[in-house]
């Protein structure tokens, strides 16, 4: 597993990542790099899931909207992974990080890797993530690490559109027909245990205070609960009761679904390393 043969940039393949997740948990050499991977992988993986709707949307306008949102997310992921690669300083660019890391090296939260499901599942997942993402970008646009603050300010504008879109659909599905209501509620129930991971913090979040990146996840969580609670109520849906939660994605432990998704996403780049068109 090496990076693409990217015409003589950087020390060749010195930066091969140790594959075992357990080892990395003990000491994280570069917390800022790690944090940027978390941000970037969330967007890249969710964007890829959204792109799976392209050509399959329930109506033409929605097909176009989902492709647009997917593009925004993949674009955000690309900017973040590029910055991550520069931060790492091992010669990996955004393509090397996207296409030549395997599942345990991905740092996205598990909620974004779940299969797209039916349209209700996609909408509810997108809404839960958008409501989180807008608050996260708002905090990050104020950080003193300028390259990240710049990406955050830009992405915030995009995600406000996304949130309005997914919030609209929450109302229409929840307060729509019997079937749309049932499907939306069922999606909400299935997704709920994956939401807690978004607000978990660990040594990485602490360590990057040094880089000027300070995000108050507890404050974000409380505002997120307000927004989500409000929309869920207006959509005539019911918030699931708190229960067991699933997490581990930030440390490379994923559901069985991510590997399959990456296989599809990465096959062309891995089959033809360095290919251009």
């Amino acid at each position: 597993m090496k990076g693409p043969a990217n015409a003589g940039t950087g020390p060749a393949h010195a930066g091969t990542v140790p594959p075992v997740a357990g080892k990395r948990e003990a000491e994280i050499a570069n917390p800022l790099f790690e944090y940027l991977l978390r941000l970037g992988d969330d967007r890249l993986v969710l964007g890829h899931r959204m792109s799976e709707w392209c050509g399959h949307g329930p109506i033409l306008e929605e097909d176009i909207a989902m492709a647009n949102i997917a593009l925004d997310l993949v674009g955000q992921g690309s900017s973040l992974l590029k910055l991550a690669g520069e931060t790492e300083g091992a010669g990996r660019d955004e393509d090397a990080l996207a296409y030549f890391r395997s599942e345990p090296e991905y740092r996205n939260a598990q909620i974004v890797e779940l299969p797209k499901g039916d349209f209700a599942f996609t909408v509810v997942r997108q809404f839960l993530f958008d409501a989180y993402s807008v608050l996260q970008w708002d905090a990050l646009q104020q950080c003193t690490f300028a390259p990240l603050a710049g990406i955050a300010a830009k992405a915030l504008k995009e995600d406000r559109y996304h949130l309005r879109h997914s919030g609209d659909w929450m109302l229409r599905l929840g307060d729509g027909t019997g079937e749309s209501h049932t499907r939306a509620q069922s999606a909400l129930n299935d997704l709920w245990r994956f939401t807690a991971e978004l607000f978990e913090s660990d040594a990485v979040d602490e360590a990057i205070h040094e880089n000027g990146v300070v995000v108050d996840l507890a404050a974000i969580q409380s505002r997120w609960q307000q927004t989500v609670g409000d929309v869920v109520r207006r959509a005539t849906l019911t918030l699931p009761a708190a229960g067991a939660s699933s997490s581990g994605g930030r440390r490379g432990r994923h559901t069985e679904f991510l590997g399959h998704m990456l296989a599809e996403m990465q096959i062309v780049a891995r089959s033809h390393p360095g290919a251009k068109w």
Binding site: L71, L73, A155, E158, R164
Partner: protein, 169 residues
């Protein structure tokens, strides 16, 4: 300053060339008019241009970079550095009055003022985007996501035509 045949580049000349590079998806306005070109610096034969993406996922950005290089190369300017910056974030407020009129004549409703409002705005429904075909304000939003990242789809209740709006961003 120099009277020899080598005509020195000036930032003005480079800008004039960039005015001929149109947005591939909205081919009536240039990358300068859209505010994509942020800065032009000339140092001898070297040209450094700073650009900013409209949307993170805009597929036209790569093409715009290629078009910029090609347009400059056609004028003999080949030592070109293109840097992408994210801050300050691109806004449709940078699009000037002339360019807005060009958009309207092309059939795209120009953007309103970039919205501020609260961080989380779940309702929008800006009324009265003016139809670029018949001028009626009796229009409705169909989708905030249109044929490209930067456009929304509306339909006019007066002339019954659908139209694109360059959305405020």
């Amino acid at each position: 300053m120099r009277g020899d045949g080598e005509e020195p580049f000036t930032a003005e000349r480079v800008r004039a060339i960039l005015e001929t590079v149109k947005d591939p998806e909205v081919p009536v306005v240039s990358v300068v008019e859209l505010g994509i070109v942020r800065h032009v610096a000339v140092d001898g034969a070297r040209v450094a241009i700073t650009i900013t993406p409209t949307y993170s996922g805009c597929p036209a950005m790569r093409e715009i970079e290629q078009d910029i290089r090609a347009a400059l190369a056609a004028e003999g300017i080949v030592d070109v550095t293109l840097d992408t910056v994210h801050a300050p974030a691109w806004t449709t407020d940078w699009i000037g009055a002339d360019a807005r009129e060009k958009l309207r004549r092309y059939g795209i409703a120009p953007p309103g003022p970039a919205e501020e409002g609260g961080l989380i705005t779940l309702t929008h429904r800006r009324a009265g985007v003016v139809c670029p075909h018949c001028g009626s304000g009796n229009t409705e939003l169909r989708s905030e996501f249109g044929s490209t990242a930067c456009k929304a789809i509306h339909v006019c209740n007066a002339c019954r035509e659908p139209f694109d709006e360059f959305k405020a961003f």
